[in-house]
C-alpha cells in the first residue's frame, strides 16, 4: 500500500467507525439491535474468511465454534456469581479454542471438499451432543440467563443498554478486524496465502503446511467463538440451533456475497444479506395490505433473496467489496 492509499484507507476506516458509533443514537430500538447483530455475524464471517479467503479452505464447521462460544459464555454466566462479562468471554474463547483444536487436528489432513465435509460432520457431532445432553446444555431449549453488566464486578459496573452494548460489540469487532488484518499481512499470513496459491510448492520450500493450517483453523475458531460470546450476551441465551450447520452455510454465503479474502467484505456481506432478508420479509405483507392483494402476504420471501444471491454469484463473483475494490483500482 502506498502512502496515498494508506491515507484513503484510514480516513475511510475512521469515517465508518464514526458512523457506527453515532448510529445507535439515531436509530430506533429494533434497527439498533439489528445493526449490533450484523456486526456480530460480520465478525463470525470475517473469522471464516481467514480460512476461505486466505488459506483456501472452505469450513462448514464455524457453527460449532460459534455455538461453543455461546455455551462457554453461558457456563460462565450461570456458574460464576456475580456474573462476570470478562469471564464469559474467557470461557467462551476457551470452549471454542478446545473445539477448534480438536477439529483442526483431524480436518487439516484433508483438502478441498474433504476438509469442508469433515468440518461439517464435526459441527454436527457437537450439535447432537449439545442437543441430547439435556442436563448440562438444556437440550433443545438451550440455556437462558441474565446479561452480565459492563465493568469489573465488585468494583464498578453499569448494566448494558442497547446503545452501550452496540458500542461494546463495535469495539470488539473493530479490534478483531485490526488484529486479523495484521495477521493476514504478517509472515504467517503470507504463508497461508502461499498455501492457498500452491500448497505443494509451499511445502517444498520448507513450510510444514499441515501445522500452519492447524493454527489457521484454531485462530479462525477463536474469533468465531468470540462472535458466539457476543451473540450470547446480546440475546441472553445459548441454543443448539446455533451449532447447527445451517449457520455455517450462512457464513459461507456472507463471505461469497461480500467478497472473500478482504476481511471487511464478509461484514458487508452479512449486512447486505441480513438486510435483504429483513427487507423482503416485510415487503410482501406491506404489498398485501397496501395494494389489497392478501394472497401475497404469505409469499415465501426467501425466494427473491435466493435469486439475488444466484445473480450475484454469476455477475459479481468477487463479491460486493471485491467489486468495489476492482472499480477503485481502475
Amino acid at each position: 500500500m502506498t502512502k496515498r492509499h494508506a491515507k484513503i484507507y484510514w480516513t475511510g476506516f475512521t469515517v465508518i467507525i464514526a458512523l457506527l458509533v453515532i448510529a445507535p443514537l439515531v436509530l430506533p430500538e429494533f434497527w439498533r439491535r439489528f445493526l449490533t447483530e450484523i456486526l456480530i455475524w460480520g465478525l463470525l464471517a470475517m473469522s471464516s474468511d481467514l480460512l476461505i479467503g486466505y488459506t483456501g479452505m472452505v469450513s462448514f464447521g464455524h457453527s460449532a465454534f460459534f455455538g461453543l462460544g455461546m455455551y462457554g459464555a453461558a457456563a460462565a454466566i450461570l456458574m460464576v456469581k456475580p456474573p462476570n462479562l470478562w469471564l464469559a468471554i474467557l470461557y467462551g474463547l476457551a470452549a471454542s479454542a478446545a473445539v477448534a483444536m480438536f477439529v483442526a487436528y483431524f480436518s487439516t489432513r484433508l483438502r478441498d471438499i474433504y476438509f469442508a465435509i469433515t468440518t461439517l460432520i464435526f459441527s454436527q457431532i457437537f450439535y447432537v451432543i449439545i442437543f441430547t445432553w439435556t442436563e448440562v446444555t438444556g437440550g433443545e431449549n438451550g440455556l437462558s440467563f441474565a446479561r452480565p453488566a459492563l465493568g469489573i464486578p465488585g468494583v464498578y459496573t453499569v448494566p448494558f443498554t442497547s446503545t452501550t452494548l452496540h458500542w461494546f460489540v463495535l469495539a470488539i469487532v473493530a479490534i478483531s478486524y485490526l488484529v486479523l488484518r495484521r495477521v493476514t499481512q504478517s509472515p504467517f499470513g503470507m504463508v497461508l496465502q502461499s498455501i492457498r496459491e500452491n500448497e505443494a510448492r509451499t511445502r517444498a520450500i520448507g513450510y510444514p503446511v499441515e501445522r500452519y493450517k492447524m493454527v489457521a483453523v484454531m485462530l479462525s475458531g477463536l474469533f468465531a467463538g468470540l462472535a458466539g460470546v457476543l451473540y450470547a450476551i446480546q440475546n441472553r441465551f445459548a441454543a443448539p440451533d446455533f451449532v447447527y450447520f445451517l449457520i455455517s452455510g450462512e457464513v459461507v454465503i456472507f463471505n461469497v456475497m461480500g467478497g472473500i479474502g478482504t476481511l471487511l467484505g464478509p461484514i458487508v456481506g452479512a449486512g447486505f444479506f441480513l438486510g435483504l432478508r429483513e427487507g423482503f420479509s416485510r415487503l410482501f405483507p406491506w404489498i398485501a395490505t397496501t395494494f389489497d392483494m392478501p394472497y401475497l402476504a404469505e409469499f415465501p420471501y426467501l425466494i427473491p433473496v435466493g435469486i439475488i444471491f444466484i445473480l450475484m454469484v454469476i455477475f459479481l463473483p468477487q463479491g460486493l467489496l471485491g467489486f468495489m475494490k476492482q472499480r477503485l483500482n481502475q
Binding site: 495484521r182 495477521v183 499481512q185 504478517s186 509472515p187 504467517f188 499470513g189 503470507m190 504463508v191 496465502q193 502461499s194 496459491e197 500452491n198 505443494a200 510448492r201 509451499t202 511445502r203 517444498a204 520450500i205 520448507g206 513450510y207 510444514p208 503446511v209 493454527v215
Partner: protein, 264 residues
C-alpha cells in the same frame, strides 16, 4: 550466497572427485509403483560444489529420482544420505530445511503473487515464518535476501510484476530464484532450460554457472549442449538403473550410452 571467501577463491576447476567431501549419496535406492520399477538399485555420490548432470531417455527415472531426493516420493528401499544423514522418507518441508532445494520441470510458482513475493516467501521459510504481529515487509533481513536473489537471477527490475505476467523464460529463472532463496547446499534443477529460446538457454547456463560457485548442483537436462558444457560429471539413467557415469568426455565415447541414445 556469495561469501567473500568464495569470491576470492579462484573459479573451481572441474572437480575430479576425491578432494571434496560427499554431499549426497544414495545406497541401493529403489522405488516401485506396483509392477513398475521406476528406480532400480541406484547408487551414486555427489561431491561438494560439483555440477552433476543426470541424463537418460524419457521414462528413465530422472524426475522420479528428484522426487525421491526431495521427499515427494518415499523410496521402496534404499537410503539417501545427505551430509551423512539418512533423509529418505522425510517430508518435503523437512528436506528443504536440511538444505536441498529444487526447481520444477513444469513451472511451479505462485502465479498471483509478485515476483518479489515468490522469492520473499521462500526466504522467509528459514526464519520468522510464524510471526503473526508484524507486517511482512518490515523484515529487513528477508527483504534484503529476496532482493539479492532476484538480482542474481536477473529479475530485480520485474520485482513488482505478477509472476503470471512474466515471460516463460523469466518464470523458469524465477523457479531457480525461489529455490535459491531457501539457501540450499544442494540444488536440483529439473530441465531448467525447457522450452527456452537459444538466447534464453544461454543466459540460464550463465546463471547456473554463476550460482554454482559454492553450491552443489544436480541437473536434469535434455539439451546435450547444455549438459556437456555445464556438468563436471554425468550420470546416465536407463530404465531406472545407472547405465554409465563419468566426465562429459567419457560419456560421449561410451558405447553403451551411444547405443541407448541412438535407439530412442
Amino acid at each position: 550466497m556469495n561469501t567473500p571467501a568464495a569470491l576470492a577463491a579462484p573459479s573451481p576447476a572441474p572437480v575430479r572427485g576425491d578432494a571434496k567431501p560427499t554431499v549426497l549419496r544414495t545406497e541401493g535406492l529403489s522405488i516401485r509403483f506396483g509392477g513398475l520399477t521406476a528406480l532400480n538399485d541406484v547408487n551414486f555420490e555427489v561431491k561438494r560444489d560439483e555440477i552433476r548432470a543426470i541424463i537418460g531417455p524419457n521414462g528413465a527415472g530422472k524426475s522420479t529420482l528428484f522426487n525421491c531426493l526431495t521427499g515427494v516420493l518415499r523410496p521402496t528401499s534404499g537410503r539417501i544420505l545427505f551430509n551423512g544423514e539418512n533423509i529418505s522418507g522425510l517430508p518435503p518441508n523437512r528436506i528443504s530445511q536440511k538444505g536441498i532445494a529444487r526447481s520444477y520441470q513444469i513451472t511451479n510458482i505462485l502465479p498471483n503473487a509478485t515476483t518479489l513475493e515468490n522469492v520473499r516467501i521462500a526466504a522467509q521459510s528459514r526464519r520468522h515464518g510464524w510471526n503473526m504481529m508484524r507486517h511482512h515487509r518490515n523484515f529487513g533481513d528477508i527483504m534484503g535476501k529476496a532482493e539479492a536473489v532476484l538480482a542474481s537471477v536477473g529479475l530485480l527490475s520485474k520485482a513488482s510484476e505478477l509472476a503470471a505476467n512474466l515471460s516463460h523464460g523469466e518464470q523458469r529463472n524465477l523457479e531457480i530464484g525461489i529455490a535459491l532463496a531457501t539457501e540450499p547446499q544442494l540444488l536440483c534443477l529439473d530441465e531448467p532450460t525447457a522450452g527456452m529460446s537459444a538466447a534464453e538457454t544461454h543466459d540460464t547456463m550463465q546463471l547456473v554457472r554463476r550460482i554454482s560457485k559454492d553450491l552443489t548442483i544436480l541437473i536434469v537436462e535434455h539439451d546435450m549442449k547444455v549438459v556437456m558444457e555445464l556438468a563436471h560429471r554425468i550420470t546416465v539413467l536407463h530404465y531406472g538403473a545407472i547405465l554409465a557415469e563419468g566426465t562429459p568426455a567419457d560419456i560421449q565415447q561410451n558405447p553403451k550410452v551411444l547405443e541407448v541414445y541412438l535407439k530412442t
